[in-house]
Structures are given as structure tokens and as C-alpha cells.
Symmetry: C2
């Protein structure tokens, strides 16, 4: 979708409907700085947004849509680290610890994003403590969930892991017990480190037991209490 010169001029971060919590804490000058140094863009389903091992030049703010964060192992297998939803920053994980992106990001559906120059982003953090604090909060929340999942996965049978990821998707990502499943069976498997075949078998079993209701691209959690129990005791 091409923009007219007028459109480009008009766009300002200060009246963005998808503004992040952190950005809402900026002052007028900082809004302008951000507006002048960020670029809105649209990305089609399946496209790679950031490639791992690339130099970090931009932070990508996800205005709308879902994204998977992943790495490809030396065995060529994909490990999905997490799913990111609207109003998240992509690339934050690597920004403060390194000069290189450690993960790749791919669009699970059509997206609206904003590219933000990293130097501007860093400058905002250094010049606005509240902005920095909000970013720290975002990162902290994300990490708590991710660490929890990693820990849960490490000592859990595959049923427990799968129950766990269903609850994660429902509570944290889609915020509903029923959601459109933008992930293939393979991707669900990659999210918890099990095989595709096992994923199929678990889904069949859970469906038979009335725990979930699935079609190819929709998922509904029925017996939440049972899922909780399975996610804990395997």
C-alpha cells in the first residue's frame, strides 16, 4: 500500500492508536524525535521480519498481528522461543546484550509494524527514565513467562508440555479460551520441543477426552482445570 507524501507527513507517534505503554510516557520533543526516526510498514504472512545473526539496526514495534520468534538449530530443526502479539517490540532480547540479533522473527499473519532506529531507541531510554522503566517492565513480564515455560518443559512429559503451551497461548497470547490457531502442528511441536507425530497423537487424545475442541485452524480449551492438572503432573 503506497502512501502519499501527505500521509507520510501526517503520521505522528503521538496519535498512534497502537501506541505502546512506554511511548505514551514520552514528552513532546521525544514524540517528534521518534516520529522522525521511525517508519511504518506492512508485512505479509510468512515473511521474515528480522533474521538471526544480522546486525541490529532497528527495533521493530508490532502494531497488529502475531509473530513467531525462533532459531534454526544445526540439525536444521526450528525451535520456536515464543509467540509475540500486537504492541510488542521485536528484537529487544538481543538489543541490550549484543550487537547482533540472536533470533529470527516471522509473520504468522499480515502485520502492521514500525521500524525504529536503535540509536533513537537507546537515546529515549537514556533520556527518559520512565520510558526505560516501562521497557524494563515489558522485558521482565515476558521473561517471567518464558522462563516459566522453559522450566516447566525441562521436567515434564509431552502431555504436560502440550497442556502447558495451550494454557500459555490461551492466557498470555490470545487472551481467550477459543482462538484462531495460526500455528501448524509442526510449529506447535517446535514450540515445546517434541515431534510432530507426538503432537498429533496428543491432540487426538485430548479431543477424545473432551479436553479441547480443535479443527485445523481453531482451538478451544474446554476442561481448563484438567489442562492445569496435566500441565503440572504430566
Amino acid at each position: 500500500m503506497l502512501k502519499t507524501f501527505d500521509d507520510l507527513n501526517k503520521s505522528s507517534c503521538s496519535d498512534c492508536v497502537d501506541m505502546s505503554c512506554a511511548v505514551s510516557l514520552l514528552n513532546k520533543a521525544q514524540y517528534n524525535l521518534l516520529s522522525d526516526n521511525s517508519l511504518e510498514s506492512e508485512i505479509k504472512k510468512g515473511e521474515i521480519i528480522i533474521r538471526s545473526d544480522s546486525l541490529i539496526s532497528n527495533i521493530v514495534y508490532l502494531k497488529t498481528g502475531f509473530v513467531k520468534e525462533f532459531v534454526i538449530g544445526q540439525d536444521k530443526e526450528m525451535r520456536i522461543i515464543q509467540i509475540l502479539k500486537n504492541h510488542s517490540y521485536l528484537g529487544l532480547h538481543s538489543l541490550f546484550g549484543d550487537k547482533i540479533n540472536h533470533y529470527s522473527y516471522a509473520a504468522l499473519e499480515d502485520l502492521k509494524v514500525c521500524y525504529i532506529d536503535i540509536n533513537i531507541f537507546k537515546q529515549l531510554i537514556k533520556s527518559n527514565g520512565s520510558f526505560a522503566y516501562q521497557i524494563l517492565k515489558d522485558i521482565g513480564k515476558e521473561n517471567i513467562y518464558n522462563y516459566y515455560r522453559f522450566i516447566a518443559n525441562s521436567k515434564n512429559n509431552i502431555d504436560g508440555r502440550f497442556a502447558n503451551i495451550l494454557l500459555y497461548l490461551s492466557e498470555r497470547i490470545y487472551e481467550n479460551t477459543k482462538f484462531n490457531l495460526q500455528l501448524s502442528r509442526q510449529e506447535l511441536a517446535d514450540l515445546i520441543g517434541i515431534s510432530r507425530e507426538s503432537t498429533t497423537r496428543i491432540i487426538t487424545k485430548f479431543k477424545k477426552d473432551g479436553i479441547i475442541n480443535v479443527t485445523r485452524n481453531s482451538m478451544e480449551l474446554i476442561k481448563l482445570d484438567l489442562l492445569q492438572k496435566i500441565s503440572k503432573n504430566g
Copy 2:
């Protein structure tokens, strides 16, 4: 070790030999604020420093010594998340994402620590962008290493995991190919989510193959290239 009144008065963060990078970015007033609201203390080997599920009231700065960060699962088994060395902050993981500590911290040897009131800590972040930026950098670095380990663990046989943790301890924690092993075999197992018996077997095998040199409480990595290879290809 009791302190005299004079000792207490004298202690100032501005001339602490174990000062963190972040604190070195504070101005005079901020130094004083920190000095007035932090408390130096010593902790004996084995003691719990922070208990998970407790309310966050202090951040603990680790001046000297090694600490394990862990949780106890519902199966009563310990999952060690990471080892922390001197000049690290304990509790940062939970501080920005929640009001409750998500992990426990225990001393692997006698420690020197400083308790810092969280409100002061947050105030410093909001009032000093460079301080905030440095904390973000610390958290970022730590996360990169931890995520990498979690990902590596999820699709790797136990030999690969063990090679991986040896390299992690050597490079990241002890910064030497030879180090005092303050962790028991059980704790090494808990760090990578395998059984104690498997740990024993791997150590025996690696020793026989001349890859490492171990005694009960010392570890030396001999064939680093082979360890790298095992950590990648299992």
C-alpha cells in the same frame, strides 16, 4: 561479624571496591541515596538469600561469591536456572515483572552482599537513564546466555547438555578452563534437567576420554574443541 558504629557510618557506595557498572554511573546525590538505603551483610554457605513466592522488598547485590538461582517443582525436584557470580543483582528477574520473587537464591559459598531497597532502586532507574540503560544491558546479557542454554537443552541428548553446561560454567561463570566445582553431581544434573546417575556416567565417560579432568570439587576442561562439538551435535 559485628560492625562498630563507626564502620556503619563510614560505608559509602561511592568507594565500594565491588561497585557495579550501573552504580558507577550515579551522581553524588544518588550515591548518597543508595548508601543511606542499602545494607551490607555476610551470608554463610548454604543459606537461602531470597525465597521464591516471597514479596519483593529488596534487591540483593552480590559483592563476592557464587549463588544458585532455583525453583522447587511440585515433584519436589530442584530446577537450577542459573549460577550467579560476584557483581550481579539477585532478584532482578522478578522485580520488573511482578511483586513476588519467582525464584529462590542460595549461597554456594560464603558471600558478601548488599540489600538495596526496591523503591530506591526503582527511583534510581527512573531518575538516571544511564543507570537504567546499564541495568538493561546486564539483564540482556544474562538472558541471551540463559535462553541459549534453554534452547540448546531442549533438543540435545544428555552428553550434549552436559558439554554445554561445562562450557557455560567455564566461559560465563568461572572465566577459566579450570575451576573449583561448588556444585554437587546432583546440582549439575538439576542445572540441565537430567538424572544424577546420568551425570555420573557422563563424567566417567568424559574423564576416560581425556575430555575433562575432575575430582570431587575441581573441574578442568581439557579438550575444548571436542566439548564444543559434543555440545552441538550431541
